[in-house]
Symmetry: C2
Subunit: 402 residues, 2 copies
């Protein structure tokens, strides 16, 4: 059948990702992948999950296998709130929480809630690929703001907002990953967090704060990485969290903390998105928190990821030519590398894949029309030996291409 | 902070459901609920799930806990296709499959893919609440088509389509639940399936066929309930399936079978919706199919649900006054009851809840502006004794109100 006028206009926002095509080239056996931003496979806490499930009563098994409330499994919501208040210094006054099917669903729900076609979203340069995809999918227009080693340059943000205001453009929200940004690895300084919030309040623009990596800091303590949301006493910030890095991405479990009225709207919207997030995942996560496994897992993985980060920085220092620059992440999974002037990241990718080493080219993390000379290296899911070897081969290939 | 121009226009499509408010009234201990359309809690196959997880190798556990492909876990996709070809008579030629996070996500993805604000969707009267919510959420306009005991009245559909064509309205798809419709319990006859497909082809309008209950027929065999998709040789039908009734709704696992080019678009869209459906759920489901547990569970539950259906019809026959009419479902979970002329379903609800019996009022299943004199009774998740008692009390209350 020929179907007439088939699709909605919003399919224009759906880009067939070049990255996916490139990553397919890289999915061959034995490849050293500094590509995907995945948690460490060999340390996923399967034993905890198995133990938890084996101890369920019949009643609890029904909770896990039956339908549940759209907003989330009540006792899990309580557990998350407790931890957020204690560890992140966020006040729940006037705020509420909703469970999402991974943080990616949170991004889709927020996009749908705020964006009319053509509305503007402010994103860091570079920013998370999944967020960019969600904003485009709901026909948002992305406006980039520059960052340095302390995160968003507040003066640049103010200049952009002033400019957009003059043009009469509606800025719906500012999207940021303040802790160990994906892909840049950069952390927004505490001083700039305050100033960012102040600017957002002055312009009346919500901040969507995405914090998947906040528990994995390698220096200082949790107070050094407190979310912008912990400074927010007027409901400006929507705070996004996830179990993907502290338990498992395969259970697809995230959450949003925001003003009660915003959560109520998001809940209505989630009803038609997937009715509820898997109860199986939610009941597992509640037990995982209740038994304190989450805290011991974080302590353990913080050390493991730090060792990997150290190996990555050491290898970069040792092998890269002086024309190459990179960020020094204080936590998280990623290093962002700036290639020598004029070097094509895609060409580099093709050459290293031939030598069995992969990474992600930077254009995935940039809005349209940004010129790319970056690559993202993820050290989270490969061994220290492979980090060293992979970076050595990338460095050698860069030298060949120079 | 006062946030200016906060939300997108599409929030107008989000209705705070009166049903949910009513159901809250009904969530008290000891209530006999003919309300929620849930599978039988006490027979959820937790032992199978536990056995499956306990036998996973380390490699398989990583598959279940790590990120996965947006389209779905490859070996699960293969298993579903095999079963669909064998049991449902669907040809996969030129067709492809994508996993969704429950059928509800399939409905949201399809809505977003096809609907511009103001586009028309044809729905049966009555139709599934979750589908109606998704279509409204993406700013669709619903046009109802009348049904009788054999399902959609094809002449009414043709009249509507002709009328809409004259008005220049864009009809994007026809949504139908041909087997044991939720909420009506009605089955679309095989003859009308053919005619519906013929009409859809003539007008160039896709059919979205939702088949959550198809395995639970109480008479005849699977050939009597073959999907419209099994008759479709030109890619007109998008076929939606789910594990919610044959395994567990708490794992949130559904799928769509449709033309390859449509699946490719849905896959791009799903990337920004939730990246992937829980791998934990997908790996469990693959083992559940591979070990044949799905077939034995269906055989077992078919008997159990038939016994419940029989109890419901017997009680209706026995207790209801002659002014009350109801459908005679050949399968599935639901009976649709027409109240005496002028009786208010909400008032009936309030009165029976006082006597500890709940159901769902029919307006949940009707587009806006339809007058309601219906209630939906679900027999799937309560005992035969409670079915009898619940229907007796509803009947008594109806008599009181007459």
């Amino acid at each position: 059948m020929e179907i007439k006028g088939l699709y909605a206009d919003s399919i224009k926002g759906l880009k067939s990702s070049k990255i996916r095509e490139l990553m397919k080239m890289a999915s061959k056996p034995g490849i050293i992948s500094l590509g995907g931003g995945m948690p460490d496979s060999v340390n996923l806490p399967f034993d905890s999950v198995k133990e938890i499930i084996n101890q369920w009563s019949d009643k609890r098994a029904i909770d896990a296998l039956q339908y549940g409330a759209t907003k989330g499994f009540t006792s899990l919501l309580e557990k998350i709130k407790e931890r957020i208040v204690e560890k992140k210094g966020i006040s729940m006054e006037g705020q509420d929480i909703i469970i999402t099917t991974g943080s990616q669903q949170a991004l889709a729900l927020v996009s749908k809630l705020f964006l009319n076609p053509g509305d503007t979203v402010i994103v860091e340069i570079p920013s998370f690929i999944g967020a960019i995809a969600a904003f485009y999918s709901f026909m948002g227009v992305l406006e980039g703001v520059e960052v340095d080693e302390k995160g968003i340059i507040i003066e640049d943000l103010e200049k952009k907002l002033e400019h957009l205001k003059k043009l009469g453009k509606e800025v719906k929200f500012i999207y940021t990953i303040p802790n160990f940004n994906n892909p840049s690895g950069i952390t927004l300084s505490m001083d700039r967090r305050k100033r960012l919030l102040e600017v957002a309040n002055r312009y009346g623009i919500p901040i969507v704060e995405d914090d998947p990596y906040g528990d994995f800091y390698f220096t200082g303590d949790e107070n050094d990485y407190r979310p912008i949301k912990s400074l927010d006493d007027s409901g400006t910030v929507l705070y996004l969290g996830t179990f993907s890095k502290v338990l498992s991405p395969g259970i697809r479990l995230g959450w949003i903390i925001a003003r009660e009225d915003i959560i109520a709207k998001l809940e209505l919207q989630k009803q038609s998105f997937d009715a509820c997030t898997p109860l199986l995942s939610q009941v597992i996560a509640e037990d995982y928190m209740k038994r304190g496994y989450i805290e011991s897992y974080i302590v353990k993985m913080r050390k493991i990821y730090k060792t990997k980060r150290d190996a990555a920085l050491k290898a970069l220092e040792r092998y890269m030519p002086p024309e190459v620059k990179w960020t020094k992440p204080e936590g998280g999974f990623f290093v962002w590398v700036t290639l020598p002037e004029g070097m094509d990241p895609e060409e580099l990718f093709k050459r290293t894949v031939e030598k069995n080493v992969a990474f992600v080219t930077g254009d995935a993390f940039l809005p349209e029309n940004y010129k790319n000379r970056y690559i993202r290296l993820s050290y989270s899911n490969i061994s220290v030996e492979d980090i060293d070897k992979g970076i050595r081969i990338i460095a050698e290939t860069i030298r060949e291409m120079m």
